[in-house]
């Protein structure tokens, strides 16, 4: 795997990117209603002024090419809804928060998931296996809009240990990241357990054990590398999902992340913000999967040679 491979992947990205831009641009504009419709409709004269101000009185094809031109210069345009901010600013603010939340959550997910999965795989079909795996089923079944409020109720309202909402101090980070990370921890623990169990029956592990190596050494040096492959391939979509799918967590904890814009802008028909967030998420998913492919190649020699 070399530079050529990376370049090839990037070359594929460009046409897909343009396709996404085009699709989103026209889909959102063909949706009924526009950014300036509200409970109280404005008069036709005022609406004309508004459309002119945002160049929406021009033909659609012209708006489309103008948008492409701006995009090429890295300008995502002004927001219709947040009149004194540009989409670039909104995304920069939101994405920083979302990335931070996502990274902490992923940290929790890995810490809890790998530990639980590792423990379970060492003693399959005992209590050491059943207890963490039952929790993981719980984690997969319980949606964040249940876990979040329950955690808030216990730690925020009853025990008064942690803040119920906000995004200022480090304490504010704990509950939302746990909420968001929990479901991913559950998946990771099951993937870890499965991966490690499968590896344990391979010949090279049996050889290692026959050579008299300690269980810990076998786990860390020999099993983990191969056993974690399923987890690694899951990490790409997980990371993208954890950042893009934080909407519910962000709402429950009042966090100023990007997820809210993604949904709110579609509801508001804030065209430029819809475009901007969609493109950011597209790029994010692409990059995450790309990184995973590289990591995969590093871990699995068979991929490297292909």
């Amino acid at each position: 795997m070399g530079i050529a491979y990376i370049l090839k992947r990037l070359a594929v990205m460009v046409p897909v990117f343009v396709l996404v831009v085009t699709l989103v641009f026209f889909m959102i504009r063909f949706a009924p209603g526009g950014p300036f419709d509200g409970e109280k409709a404005v008069s036709p004269e005022i609406k004309r002024n508004l459309l002119a101000k945002y160049h929406m009185d021009e033909p659609l094809w012209k708006q489309y090419f103008n948008y492409l031109g701006d995009l090429a210069r890295g300008d995502l345009g002004p927001s219709f809804k947040y009149a004194n901010r540009t989409v670039n600013e909104l995304i920069a603010d939101g994405l920083t928060v979302s990335l931070e939340l996502g990274m902490i959550s992923l940290g929790w997910a890995l810490l809890i998931g790998l530990t639980a999965g590792g423990i379970a795989s060492l003693r399959p079909n005992t209590l050491w296996d059943y207890i963490p795996m039952s929790f993981s089923i719980l984690g997969i079944c319980l949606p964040t809009f249940v876990i979040g409020p329950v955690l808030v109720l216990i730690f925020g309202i009853w025990l008064e240990w942690l803040p119920v909402a906000g995004w200022n101090s480090w304490e504010d980070r704990i509950l939302p990241s746990l909420t968001l990370g929990f479901a991913y921890a559950a998946y990771i623990s099951r993937l870890t357990r499965g991966g490690l169990m499968e590896i344990r029956n391979q010949d090279f592990i049996r050889t290692a054990r026959a050579k008299g190596l300690s269980e810990a050494r076998i786990l860390i040096v020999h099993s983990l590398r191969g056993g974690l492959l399923p987890v690694v391939s899951y990490l790409g979509p997980a990371l993208a999902g954890i950042i893009a799918g934080a909407l519910v967590t962000e709402t429950i904890f009042g966090i100023p992340g990007l997820g809210r814009f993604f949904i709110q802008s579609a509801v508001n028909r804030d065209y430029t913000v819809v475009m901007g967030t969609a493109l950011v998420y597209f790029t994010l998913i692409f990059v995450c999967n790309f990184l995973v492919d590289i990591a995969y190649a590093l871990l699995d020699p068979r991929v490297k040679h292909e």
Partner: protein, 543 residues
Amino acid sequence: MRIQNGNRIGVALILVFSLALATGCTGKAKAEADVINIGNGAEPKDLDPHITTGVPEHHIQQNIFEALVSVHPKTLEPIPGVAESWKVSKDGKVYTFTLRKDAKWSNGDPITAQDFVYSWTRLLKPEIASEYAYQGYYLLNGKEFNNGKLKDASKLGVEALDDHTLKVTLVNPTPFFLGLLYHHSYYPVHRKTVEKHGLAWTRPENIVVNGAFTLDKWETNKVISLVPNPHYWDRASVKLKRANFLPTENLDTEEKMFRSGKIQVTNEVPLEKLPQWRKDTTGVYQGVPYLGTYFYWINTTKKGLEDKRVRKALNLGIDRSRLVEFVTLGGQLPGNIYTPPGTAGFTPTAHLPTDLSRLDEAKKLLVEAGYPGGKGLPKLEILYNTHEGHKKIAEALQQMWKQNLGVNVGLYNQEWKVYLDTLQQMQFQLARQGWIGDYNDPTTFLDLLVSDNGNNRSGWKNPKYDQLLESAGRESNVAKRNEYFRQAEDMIMDELPIIPLYIYTRNYLKDPGVQGWEANIQDFHPLKYVSFKPGKAEEPQSK
């Protein structure tokens, strides 16, 4: 055993973590005297008073901008703001304001009459594209200038006679004009700042304001923080040290923040918690009548609904008392009238029952219209935007009409903007509408049903009705004006192009330590009068 060692480490980790949680941090917010945190609903669009349209924005703007004429925090009567006095001409069309000489912008510049000329001209400039520009149509030539038919701004009905005298000429005598000045569209903006920074002028690092507070911090979706304006002429009256407005779109989160002391005043109360909070006896729960009506449009252009008798039957076939008691839950008033009672001293005579006392009449009307027991009536549908509260109301009405009149009604919900589009195209039979008054005067409600009003979705056009409101517009005598309004309201109650359901109530929670926060019909709370002594935010307590 090594495995057990591993487990010991795990257990130890969990213990350490729990200890850290138990000892190191606390979730209970420490309230500070005269620092108030306010739940403010949605993230503001902007703070430019000529650009914004919403209530959350106005909550903030009323504190950082001072209007020419302000309002009394409780009675909402006009009190001096930037203007220390004013005179009104006999015909009610010319106002002469005398501006106080000590009024300053937050950068120390004096506020002059020219600032208001600039600001109101800006409101009406077509290229500013203010959605509330029509508030300026009361000014002479305001509409013509905004529509681009008149280019010469000096012809507008606002003129600086000298630095401290402002002459305002109106199209019609407008008895509510002084109250209208508290609307954000009439707030003054600082010319040099606006011209220098363009769109970005409302950011904390650029903004120059003239209110009791200035903008200290604005983090999108996180907080908008105000501190007292050192140059404000009445700085001595301001008690708060800081006011934070927090976006709280999730009502459950907001309520939890209130209970943990993170905010002192909420924006709303979650519907499912309302019954519990309404029993509260600690003075935390606030339910205040609000200047707004919730009603259903009847599309009078649709078959069956063009018949006045059917519209009346639908209106008489519902139990409004039960609707507010068991469905809306917030202590709303049953909507047996259209204009909320006490709007600028005008209360219409009720013509609709709050209960089913006139159900027989309703049934008879249906028979007369040729739809006995609802038979033969085209299938009706209620359109509402997707929202739990609207759905519950629609379901209740569906059941009432079925039970009381035998009329079958379907429900149809649409996503917000799709719903607005459907309304606009009149592709519905019955549709929900909430209408909140822009200013304290019956016209803000009654104008809605004028034939050419862009928001009249009933398809009902009546030249007599239009005439009544036009006469009211030209009238400066309050009693005579109210008589026109009474006739207009009577006409609505006779023709019934709408089904009034309830008069709004604002429900929110307020820490008992918050002083000077007065309840009033327009939900205005100038923080100039507010102070805060921390106490403990209570759980709901009932007798």
